[in-house]
């Protein structure tokens, strides 16, 4: 059982789906989703960095919406469908967003990349042809310390084209 549950003595069973498969997880209602993913489910694609919702390294999709897993609590995930970076790759290869990041050099150390890709993915789902203002707004919660965002701008633009031509 998760350490939070031990400490708080509040038994709680979270049922949700993660990357398409159903999970029943013994935890505490206030346990953070990031810790559930990384420590209980061994899904380490979502990263831990600021833990206060500022940097976006921990970003995942909950019912298709991007959230900071470091702030999201277990009870908020009940019955929800969670997609992590590990759930994005399709059997036919990488997602157009992931491909675009590779082709344009939208990453360096890669630590922000899973969260960044999730945010771009969510943006393009809701707005397939975003303006620069929309891109800046959607990604301003994702800090990248390495790239200076040049490669990220190029990757987003390319992903827009990629989705259009594969769409």
């Amino acid at each position: 059982m998760n350490e939070h549950a031990v400490r708080l003595g509040t038994p709680y069973k979270l049922s949700c789906s993660v990357n398409g498969s159903r999970h029943e997880i013994e935890t505490a209602p206030s346990a953070r989703l990031l810790s559930i993913l990384r420590d209980d489910l061994a899904l380490t694609g979502a990263k831990r960095s600021c833990e206060i919702g500022r940097c976006g390294a921990c970003m995942v999709l909950v019912d298709g919406k991007p959230v900071n897993a470091c702030l999201t609590m277990a009870y908020q995930c009940s019955g929800k469908s969670i997609t992590t970076i590990e759930g994005l790759s399709t059997i036919n290869g990488n997602d157009p967003v992931q491909l675009a990041f590779m082709e344009e050099g939208g990453f360096q150390c890669g630590y922000c990349t899973p969260g960044m890709v999730i945010s771009v993915k969510a943006l393009l789902e809701s707005s397939p042809d975003p303006s620069d203002d929309e891109i800046a707004e959607a990604l301003s919660g994702n800090i990248c310390r390495c790239t200076g965002y040049g490669g990220i701008w190029r990757a987003v633009k390319r992903a827009v084209e990629g989705r259009r031509s594969s769409g």
Partner: protein, 762 residues
């Protein structure tokens, strides 16, 4: 030719670490876990300066689930670390000197138990006076932090007679420049996994920029032979100099050895802020004068750096700053004095640019102020005083000569941004509180560690039994694209396909010591290693192939997938690398080791190789809010051949973003030795919203005929000239000289015009 994807053709490649990074499948060292793993935490000082009266660990040890509680009594070897001078205690014994000082460490079954155990350790402190100001630290009656006093290091460099020189000057500019305590803010905080192996050895999985240095330092602390320690140090979620020194490794290692179980440590952001290195805050006073024609006659500089409580590379950073406040100009009279003072503030240390950022901000500020005083165009003023290609370096030391200074100068002079500045006509905007300006700055930035510091280099090529060509180096991949650069060099210089290559780095058990991945040196040293390895490796490979095939070696060549005939190019493979590996004979393997090229000087830290760079930026000042927006940047970089276009562009873009933060928003604030800034909500790293402007990069690849040093480093240079260029653009836009970074918006706020009018009437 501008550096971008379209201009790079097939040389713009998907990085070998790309798939793992974009899919999240790459396991970072802080992602590792093991069965039966314990969680480690470190108890750090509550006070910036205090005597430790007593440490009680009894209650913590009794807590169920706690496996070890360690203090200074539990360090078998040297209770200290530090790359240059081990004076930072692993665990403090008598005195704590900053809020990151470690007092104890615990290992427990869960993070929650470890945290509770920390709260059960009782420490009694007798508070001492806090030295929170480097100026105060150097006063004779200041509390002394170390037996040798509060001056970690002093530098000086003089020539001619500055007093007499200033007497001859017609124009003199005096200014004091201040730069912030900038935080690396690598997205992956420090951490790792520490595994005691069944055979008595210890494996350390923890990021660093020089695995062998960590191994040496750990061996000293643990009192273990170096060969019993294996340091695995890549991949790394960013470092920028910040993970070169030991951080959590001593604690993880001690706890793992004590408990006999794997121990994981992964710093929270606050722990990282509190304990980790920052860029040295510096106060740089400059007095610089010219004659009536604008020739520099005298330059006097006084540098004061706040190095925090312990040495790490503080002395080396000051040496670098001392060299770079002189920079690419010629002066008849010169006097530079530097001091790096111990304080009870946070630790300062190595950070991309290495003291150059502060120095160049000040030096270029002087050049702009003098040009204005003279009524000269600032770029022409620089040209007038710039070094000639054959001139010695800043310390009058011999350097590898290039035309770099003139080349980057000219590139900016001809750049659209600079032409726009020169030809600008006053435009009236409908938002008169928005003012735009253009500024530029210039530098020569040293690569390598400099004279007098061991700076080994080297590597290995070998044919593995499975037919892979293995390239083995001790360099680290922290995002800069080292793997991609090495792969591309092997493809281009040897003719291999990417699939033929296996790159092995970052594991002290299998790699030779190629020196540190710092100081913009790794790519240059890999290039040089491959140059040295090429002939012997070809000889061994083709020699073996020749004896297998019965074809003379000089008719054969290496190619994609295996050996082909030199003639009739794309013809069938004669022999695959796998077949070659299975043929009889000794192992095919070549090693090389050499020293990073150094100047023939006796000045410690003086460089031999330099990268030249000039940057022009266009910025916008909102005089209502005082906020500055960078609209456009043009970088000219003369660093020899571009080894990896995507990596080169990424280094300049990424470096310039750090400089943007340094100039405009980033500062880890401290008050009386305590951090006020604790996390990224108040520490403002630039976001994508601050990076909407175009960044153009022009690499100048040409080197003098016969140059044998190849690519110069580009890892740092993007981060050193942007701040002064922004300051110049702000002056151009809003008429304000900025001398303190990050820019304080209050200095740029104007009384709104409508209030001004009202004031007139009143």
């Amino acid at each position: 030719m501008l550096l971008n994807r379209a201009n790079s053709g097939g040389r713009w490649r998907i990085r070998p670490d790309g798939p793992g990074k974009v899919t999240g499948s790459l396991t970072y060292l802080t992602d590792l876990t093991r069965e039966n793993m314990l969680y480690g935490l470190v108890l750090r000082s509550e006070h910036p300066h205090a005597r430790l009266a007593r440490i009680h660990t009894g209650k913590a040890k009794q807590l169920h689930g706690v496996r070890a509680v360690l203090t200074h009594e539990d360090v078998p070897g040297l209770n200290a670390f530090g790359i240059a001078n081990p004076d930072q205690p692993v665990f403090c014994k008598d005195v704590v000197r900053y809020v990151g000082d470690a007092i104890a460490a615990v290992a427990a079954d869960s993070p929650a138990i470890a945290k509770q155990a920390l709260s059960l350790i009782e420490v009694e402190y007798d508070l001492l006076e806090t030295v929170d100001d480097p100026e105060m630290a150097l006063l004779p009656d200041a509390p002394q932090l170390h037996p040798g006093g509060n001056a970690l290091h002093r530098t000086s460099f003089c020539k001619g007679d500055t007093a007499a020189g200033f007497g001859q000057c017609v124009h003199i500019v005096e200014e004091t420049y201040y730069t912030p305590r900038q935080m690396h803010t690598y997205m992956e905080t420090e951490g790792g996994l520490f595994v005691p192996e069944a055979n008595g050895r210890l494996t350390v999985y923890s990021p660093t920029q020089h695995g062998f240095m960590d191994r040496m330092q750990l061996a000293r602390i643990l009192d273990m032979p170096q060969t019993d320690i294996r340091v695995v140090s890549s991949p790394i979620g960013g470092s920028f100099g910040g993970k070169d020194e030991l951080n959590v490794q001593p604690y993880g290692a001690l706890l793992a050895l004590r408990t006999g179980l794997p121990v994981k440590i992964h710093n929270s952001r606050w722990e990282s802020v509190r304990a980790g290195l920052k860029r040295h805050p510096m106060k740089i006073r400059m007095k610089t004068g010219t004659d009536a024609s604008g020739k520099l006659i005298a330059h006097a500089v006084d540098i004061l750096a706040d190095t925090g409580p312990y040495s790490t590379l503080g002395a080396e950073v000051l040496n670098f700053a001392t060299e770079h406040v002189i920079g690419p100009y010629r002066y008849s009279n010169l006097s530079v004095m530097g001091a790096s003072a111990f304080t009870n503030n946070g630790m300062s240390g190595e950070f991309r640019g290495f003291g150059g950022n502060q120095a160049i901000f000040a030096l270029e500020g002087q050049m702009d102020r003098l040009a204005e005083r003279l009524g000269m165009e600032p770029w022409a003023f620089r040209k007038l005083n710039m070094r000639e290609p054959g001139d010695p370096g800043p310390f009058d030391q011999p350097i590898a000569a290039t035309e770099g200074a003139g080349q980057v100068w000219e590139a900016v002079a001809k750049s659209p941004l600079w032409l726009e500045k020169l030809n600008r006509s006053q435009t009236v905007t409908c938002e008169p509180w928005i003012k735009t300006g253009i500024g530029a700055a210039f530098t020569m930035h040293g690569a390598g560690l400099g004279f007098g510091i061991p700076d080994p280099a080297g590597g290995r090529l070998q044919l593995a039994p499975d037919g892979k060509i293995e390239a083995v180096f001790s360099y680290e991949e922290f995002g800069q694209g080292l793997l991609a650069s090495l792969e591309l060099m092997l493809i281009e210089q040897f003719g291999f396909a990417a699939e033929d290559i296996r790159i092995i780095i970052g594991d002290t058990d299998v790699v030779p010591d190629s020196g540190s991945t710092t100081a913009s040196r790794a790519t240059a040293m890999m290039w040089k290693s491959l140059q040295r390895l090429k002939e012997p490796f070809l000889e061994q490979m083709l020699g073996r192939a020749s004896s297998v095939l019965g074809i003379p070696a000089d008719l054969l060549r290496l190619s994609e997938g295996g050996i082909r005939l030199k003639e009739n190019g794309e013809a069938a493979l004669q022999l695959t690398y796998k077949e070659l590996a299975q043929a009889d004979g000794a192992e095919i393997r070549c090693d090389t080791s050499f020293h990073f090229p150094v100047s023939s000087t006796d000045r410690v830290g003086a460089h031999f190789m330099y990268t030249y760079s000039a940057v022009a930026v266009k910025a916008e000042v909102n005089t209502l809010t005082g906020r500055v927006k960078v609209l456009e940047q043009f970088h000219a970089v003369a660093a020899g051949p571009v080894i990896n276009p995507q990596g080169f562009l990424g280094q300049i873009e990424g470096g310039s973003s750090m400089a943007l933060g340094f100039a405009l928003t980033e500062e880890a604030l401290m008050e009386k030795g305590f951090y006020v800034t604790r996390n990224m909500d108040t520490y403002l790293v630039p976001t994508i919203a601050e990076h909407r402007g175009k960044v153009t990069v022009l690499p100048i690849e040409e080197l003098p005929a016969g140059d044998e040093y190849g690519p110069r480093g580009i890892g740092e240079v993007g981060s050193v000239t942007v701040a002064p260029a922004i300051a110049a653009a702000i002056r151009d836009a809003a008429g304000v000289w900025v001398s303190r970074l990050p820019v304080n918006p209050l200095e740029l706020q104007d009384v709104p015009f409508f209030l001004k009018e009202g004031g007139d009437r009143g």
